[in-house]
């Protein structure tokens, strides 16, 4: 199978991570995300969700977390972002700035209109960026509305937008655009990739085509009963100004579907 | 000669303003205090108030307290002195329905349910009474009471403590309206001379402002004397009525009549006379009932009556 060429998993019990002392010293070229030998069981759950799971993504860029519903994408994301603790193993992310996690059920405060909320939550000096994002996210006409007046996809977009205005080294987007229409979603993804070339993104989505097309590395979470528990696939990492190789895209999609 | 312009003092009564405080409000209303150069704030009392505490805290300069309060305070080191004794006869008595039985002696209490306010001076008085007759709690059923007369109305308690000059009047009216007659059981008839309301101040006040004390007591006793005179009844009713809007003048007139008998039982006795023997007896009773740990020599705290 072609699949094997693309899986770059670390087998449990065979750590391939660099020497920890080197890591600590900081001289080693840091991995963007590095999870090593993660074991985690939800309190009250029978079986562990992750058992010696390893994940590594080397460089910044637009990456994805993919996998069937219930496989553990959200859980892994929250472990990486530090939202969940109580797991065994080691997690590291690169960069001086925080790793932020955003998900599609977030709500905005109800007392102020969207525009004011965005103003109040953007760090100084980001007004141009904010205006640009509002425009490209198709939100210009909603700035006077409140949370309760937004449609689901509108709320998702505003939510993602406010995170993009923050300082981060890594932004994990948990189905952040799941309720947005495809054209808008594409515009948004292209825009993010062109505006934040230095940052790391981890995009959780159930859309295999989208993930294949836009993402650089795709971590497929396969569930605890499969071994290895994750697979890494290389995506097309497409940008708006480049041609898209449709055959390669389809191959990536196939690989992902096989791995999942 | 030594009249100062409007010296401000506060005077804390023992109870709400009613016929029992006629002299106090009379002195105020008729301007007797201001004639003495005093600007007196006469403040109503109540069960949660304590004039002696207020003297020490400086919230009041003069007050009204019953003898048991004075003796308790002395037992705990308060420096209080008695300036005048307003009631020569303690108005605390027990009311009962005359049609149901009659109480001709302490012995007759046997088998009755007698109301007392636990911790109050009526408890002390009743216990002293029972002791004189050799009765104990197995023979007389003591029942705790409060301001709510319903147990008496419902005959759950048949002998009920009242202030004869105020509650005594309207309670007999109420029962009379229901076709019932009442009678009173008066401890002083059986040798218990437990002292009631008296005027007190602090030793420091007396030491530091003797003139003010003298002028205050002069005006106050003049007020009481005038208020108790039948001729000034209308004025007394007027001044009391200014505060006590819930009692009709007719009832107040009868309340005043009884009050008069207790404040001036004998025209020969000046208003405000301190009955030293009664004070001594009060202390003895309290000692006997272990309400104070040891003698306080209350006699030493009684100031001779100023002449006026």
């Amino acid at each position: 199978m072609i699949l094997n060429r693309y899986i770059c998993v670390k087998q449990k019990g065979k750590p391939k991570a660099p020497n920890p002392s080197t890591l600590r010293a900081g001289s080693f070229c840091e991995q963007m995300i590095e999870c090593h030998d993660i074991t985690f069981r939800y309190p009250g759950a029978e079986a562990p969700l992750f058992d010696g799971l390893d994940v590594a993504i080397g460089t910044p860029g637009f990456h994805a977390l993919f996998g069937p519903s219930g496989a553990g994408k959200t859980s892994l994301a929250r472990i990486i972002s530090g939202d969940i603790d109580g797991f065994a193993g080691r997690v590291k992310t690169a960069g001086d700035m925080p790793c932020l996690y955003t998900f599609n059920r977030e709500r905005l405060p109800g007392w102020s209109p969207v525009g004011r909320h965005l103003e109040k939550t953007s760090p100084p000096g980001r007004q141009p960026l904010r205006d640009e994002l509002i425009d490209h996210f198709g939100l210009s006409e909603l700035m006077g509305l409140r949370y309760s007046q937004l449609s689901m996809g509108q709320c998702n977009r505003v939510n993602l937008l406010r995170y993009l205005l923050q300082d981060f080294s890594l932004l994990i987007m948990d189905e952040s655009l799941a309720n947005v229409d495809e054209p808008t979603r594409q515009t948004i993804l292209y825009k993010i990739k062109s505006l934040f070339p230095e940052a790391g993104f981890l995009y959780i989505s159930h859309n295999v085509m989208e993930v294949s097309q836009f993402c650089d590395q795709i971590i497929v979470v396969r569930g605890a009963h499969k071994s290895p528990q994750t697979a890494r696939i290389c995506g097309q990492d497409h940008r708006v100004d480049r041609p898209l190789d449709n055959t390669a895209l389809e191959r990536t999609m196939l690989e992902i579907m096989n791995a999942a | 000669g030594d009249v100062m312009a409007n010296e401000k003092v506060a005077y804390r009564l023992k109870w709400l303003i009613n016929a029992s405080t006629a002299g106090d409000v009379y002195a105020l209303g008729q301007g007797l205090f201001s004639e003495q150069g005093l600007d007196v704030a006469v403040k109503a009392g109540g069960p949660e108030r304590d004039a002696i505490r207020e003297l020490e805290l400086g919230y009041a300069q003069f007050g009204v307290a019953s003898a048991d309060q004075v003796i308790r305070a002395l037992a705990k080191g308060a420096s209080v002195v008695v300036l005048a004794q307003l009631f020569q006869i303690n108005p605390l008595q027990w009311i009962y329905r005359a049609d149901d039985f009659s109480l001709a002696g302490v012995q007759d209490l046997a088998g009755k349910t007698v109301g007392i306010t636990y911790g109050g001076n009526d408890e002390t008085i009743m216990r002293a009474l029972l002791a004189t007759a050799g009765l104990d709690e197995r023979q007389v059923r003591l029942a705790g009471v409060r301001y709510d007369y319903t147990p008496f109305f419902l005959k759950k308690i048949t002998v009920w403590p009242v202030y004869r000059n105020t509650q005594g009047i309207f309670l007999s009216d109420k029962l009379a309206a229901g076709g019932e007659r009442v009678a009173f059981f008066d401890p002083s008839e059986y040798g218990i001379r437990f002292v009631a309301n008296s005027v007190v101040t602090s030793q420091r006040m007396l030491d530091e402002h003797p003139q003010t004390v003298a002028r205050f007591i002069r005006a106050l006793l003049a007020g009481w004397q005038a208020a108790m005179a039948p001729a000034s009844e209308a004025a007394a009713i007027r001044w009391v009525g200014e505060h006590d809007r819930d009692t009709s003048p007719a009832v107040m007139r009868r309340q005043l009549a009884v009050t008069r008998r207790m404040v001036r039982p004998d025209p020969a006795i000046p208003v405000g006379r301190i009955d030293r023997a009664a004070w001594q007896q009060t202390e003895q009773i309290m000692l006997r009932q272990r309400l104070i740990p040891g003698p306080v020599n209350v006699i030493d705290r009684l100031r001779p009556q100023p002449s006026h």
């Binding site: 932020l100 977030e106 | 949660e48 809007r245």
Partner: protein, 249 residues
Amino acid sequence: MLHRRIFQFFIVYLSGIGLLFGIKLVLNLSDYVIPGPVGVWQTAQTEFYRYMGDVLDTFAVAVIGQMLSILMALGVGVAGRRATWFGSFIKVAAYNVQAYPIVAIAPILFILLGDGFLTRLFIAAMICYFPLLLSVIGIMSEPVADIEHFYRVTGRLRWQLEVKIRAFENLHKLTTVVSGSATLAMAGTIVAEFIAANAGIGYSIRIALYQSDLSKILVALFTIGITLSLYQGALELAGAGVKKAWATG
């Protein structure tokens, strides 16, 4: 709206007084135990205006006391919302202070505050604040994760914001308990007047009690009830207004 409340109050009041008259009839009690309708009506005619004045006096104190207690409850609730040592200490303190019946600490209050307006206000606020506190602590100690997440991960969740979010999300519960606490403020002020004042309807009730005049008490309860029903209605309207203003203004 308001006239519905008044109508409902009349039903409540008349049922209560009807019950009393019923008991009187059945047990054949004399007028000094439970007054008859005629006696109550006569008393109403002579005392109604005076009592209405007293109630308004009480009402003014109650409104101030209510505001005080809302502030106290917010302060203590916000300080005690966390499950930390300090939070639990604040709660222990607040709960203990409340458990001591006002009647028991009245003498201490008199020592500390004298016997003026302040004591009255303080007692009213004490009686009113605790129920508010319980609600506020319940609301303030429960995270609204979907909204707070953003602020927390971006390091913006200062306590003011946390309080604002939780208050907004529980606005309905807060307005219910705040407008309901008017009742407590009124009851508290009456108790305070009963213990410590020489004005207000509480004081009048006390005198009526000393005189064993149930007619007067029934009339006083009527004036209290009608005033309160009106205030209650007004507060609920105001609460609805606040909700609307904050959500859309």
